[in-house]
Symmetry: C2
Subunit: 417 residues, 2 copies
Amino acid sequence: MTESRHLGECLDGQRFWNDVQSLASIGALQPKGIRRLALDDQDNQARLWLVEQGRALGCQAYYDAMGNVFIRREGKAPELAPLLVGSHLDSQPQAGIHDGALGVVAGLAVLRTLHEQGIDHLRPLEVVAWTNEEGARFTPGASGSSWFAGQRDYHAIVSTLDGSGIRFGDALDDCLELLKEHGLTYRPEPFIPHTFLELHIEQGPVLEALNKPIGVVSGIQGVNWYEVEVEGQANHAGTTPRQVRRDAFDGAHEFVSALKATVLEQDDDLRFTIGKFSLWPDSVNTIAQHAAFTIDLRHPTQSVLDTLDARFHDLAKRQWAGCDTSLKVTSHVAPVAFPEHLLDVLRDSAGRYCPGTPELVSGAFHDAIHLAHVCPTAMLFTPCRQGLSHHPDEHIEREDAEVAARVLADAAASLLG
Amino acid sequence: MTESRHLGECLDGQRFWNDVQSLASIGALQPKGIRRLALDDQDNQARLWLVEQGRALGCQAYYDAMGNVFIRREGKAPELAPLLVGSHLDSQPQAGIHDGALGVVAGLAVLRTLHEQGIDHLRPLEVVAWTNEEGARFTPGASGSSWFAGQRDYHAIVSTLDGSGIRFGDALDDCLELLKEHGLTYRPEPFIPHTFLELHIEQGPVLEALNKPIGVVSGIQGVNWYEVEVEGQANHAGTTPRQVRRDAFDGAHEFVSALKATVLEQDDDLRFTIGKFSLWPDSVNTIAQHAAFTIDLRHPTQSVLDTLDARFHDLAKRQWAGCDTSLKVTSHVAPVAFPEHLLDVLRDSAGRYCPGTPELVSGAFHDAIHLAHVCPTAMLFTPCRQGLSHHPDEHIEREDAEVAARVLADAAASLLG
C-alpha cells in the first residue's frame, strides 16, 4: 500500500466474506438464516467471537454497563477520542445473517487491513457492537446505543421484560459476567467518540433498483406513530336507514381519505402507512360501533412532520360520517441529517469505487440515529435483494458488500489521520 | 260485537299483555330479558305453554317434522286451507322478550277473541310457532319456516351442529318426543296455507321516529353478502418508497371509495355496510400484504341488487393501488314484495286504528320471507325503542302492541270469512 487514503483497496475480500460466514454460524437456522435474540446465549457467543478476532489482531476489548462491546486498535495519540465503526450482532427471531452483523464484520475488516498493512494511525479506532438493536426480545430496541448516547434511561431499559418474563437487567447481568470472565475491561460510563460510522444493509429497494453496490446515507427519516379511534353506533345493517347511521367504518374511511389528501400535498419523500385496522364488533351484518387504526408517518424533515401533525390533529377535531374521532401520538422520533463534512468523506471514498454513488435517506431506524446526538455520525448502505430483511431469505451480493467494506475502510483511514 | 270486521275492538288488551308477560317468564333472565335458544328446554317449554293456552280455547295442537307447532281453531269449512298467524318463540342468547314472541302471543289473542266472541268462521285459523328463527344456536336460522316453504333441505338442517357439538337432529328428536308425549297430532308434511300473517317488532328506528304504533310491511329487502380480498406486498413502512408500494390497505381504501360512489348513485332504500375489515400482518410499521372485508348490500328491488352486483364485479376486475382484488358472493336472498291484495287488507284494518299508517320495507329477515314462496304473506311492524333488539333492553310500549294486535285481529277476521 502506498497511501493510507486507499486502505480499502488492500482489504482482503475473501477474508471479509469468510468472517461474514463464520459469524453467521453462531445461532444458525436450518437451512439458512440466524436467530440471535438480544442477550441470549447466541448473542453473547457472537460478542465473544468478535473479542477473539480483535485480540488476534492485538486489540484491546472493552465492555460497558449495557453490554456494548468495543474492540480498540490503539492510536499514536491515545488521548484522542476514537473513531467508532460498527453496528449490532443481535437479530430478529427468524432473521437473515447480514442485518447488523455486516456492519460489525466490516469494521473488523478495517481493523484487519490496518493490522496487515502495519499502519500506525494517530487516532484510536474502535469496532463496536451495540446491544439489542432489534428490540425483538426486549422492546424497544437500540438499547445499547440509545443509553450510550444519553437518549434513554438505564433503569427504564433494564426493567423491561421479555416474553417469558425475564428482566432485561437479569439477562444483562449474565452477559456482563461472561464478558468479565473473558477478561474484557469494564467502562462504567459512555464517552464521546470522535465519529461514528455504520455500514448496514438498506432493507429497502432503492439501491437494487439503481443497480448500485452502495449508497451514502444522508440522514434518517423522522417518524410519528399515531393511533386513531372512531366512535360510531352499532346497529342492524338491514334495518337502519342510511340517514340515521353513525357507521364507524364510514367515519374511518372518510377520515383516511382526508388524511391521504393532505399527505399527497407533500413531496415524494413522505411515507404514510396504515398497517393496523380493526372494527368492533366486526360482524358482517352489524354497523361498526368502533374503528381503530394506526398511522406510521415518516419524512426526513422535521418541519414537514410538524405541518402534517398539526393538519392531522385539525382533521381529527371534525366529525366524520357523524362519528367522533380521536388521534393520539404513540411514538415520535425526530429526523436526523448527517453532517455534510462527514458525508463529504464518505462521498470521496465512495466515488473511488462507485462513481455516481447515490445518496438516500434511511427509512428504517439504526443505532446511528442515537449516536448522531453525541458525535458526527454517518452511514453507508449496501443493497439487499428485493429490500427483504428480518427473514432468512435476506440476501446480499458478495461483490456489493466488498465494495461497501472498502469504502468504509477508506473513510476510516481518512478520519484516523 | 256487532260485526266480525271489527274483531280487534273486542280484543282484551290486559289479557294480551298478561300473555306477553307469562311467556316471558319462560327462560327469563335477571333483571330482564330472556334466553330461549332453539330446541333447548326453555324453547320447548314455550311450545308447551302455547299448546296449553290453545287447548283451553278448544283448539287442536299439531306439530310437524321440524318441530313447528300449530294451534288450530276449526272453521265451518275444515277443507279450506287455514289462515296462518304467528312468528317464533326462540331467542338470541341475551334477548328481549318481544322478538318473535309478540307475534305468537298476538295470534293467540286473536284466537282468544274469536273464542270469547263465539264467532264461527268459515276458514280454519292456525297460530304457528316456527322453529329456530334466530339461528343463534344452530346456523342458519329460519329452519322451521324455510323447510315448511320448501326453501331448505331437511337433511342439511338436521345435520348442523351447535357450539357444543350437539346435532340439530338430535335436539329436534327430543323436542318431537316431548310434543308427542303431550298428545299433539303429528303432521309429517308441510301444507299450503291460505295466507300467512306475521306481526313483529320493527328492530329498526323508522316507526319510533314517525311516532306511529304500527307500520304495514310491504316487503322484505333482498340481501347480498360479499367477501372481498385485496392482495398487496408486505414491506417496511419506512424503507419502501411510495412509487414501488403495493399496499393492500391502500388498495382496499380505493376499492371501497369506488364501491361507495356506485352505491350513492342509487336511491335511499339501498343499504351498504362494511362490518368486518382486517389487515395482515396487521403491524404498525409493515405495509399490509392482505386486506379482507365484507359487504352487506340490501335493497327491496332485485334489479337494483343485480345492477350493483354487476358493477361490483366489474370494479373488482381492476387493480386498486396496484393490488389485485377478488369479490365473492357468500350469501344471496332475493327481495320479497308482499301481494297488494293482502296489503290492502292490512291497510284497511290498520286505518281503523291508526290513520296514516306508514308502510315500510323490512331490513331484517323474518319467517315471512320463506312463507312468501308458498302463500300470500304480509307483515305488521310495531316500534321498539331506539330500534334495539337482540338485547335485554329491547322495549316496546304496551299501547303500541295492543294497536298492532287489534289490527292483526281485524285482518284475520276479514280473511277468515
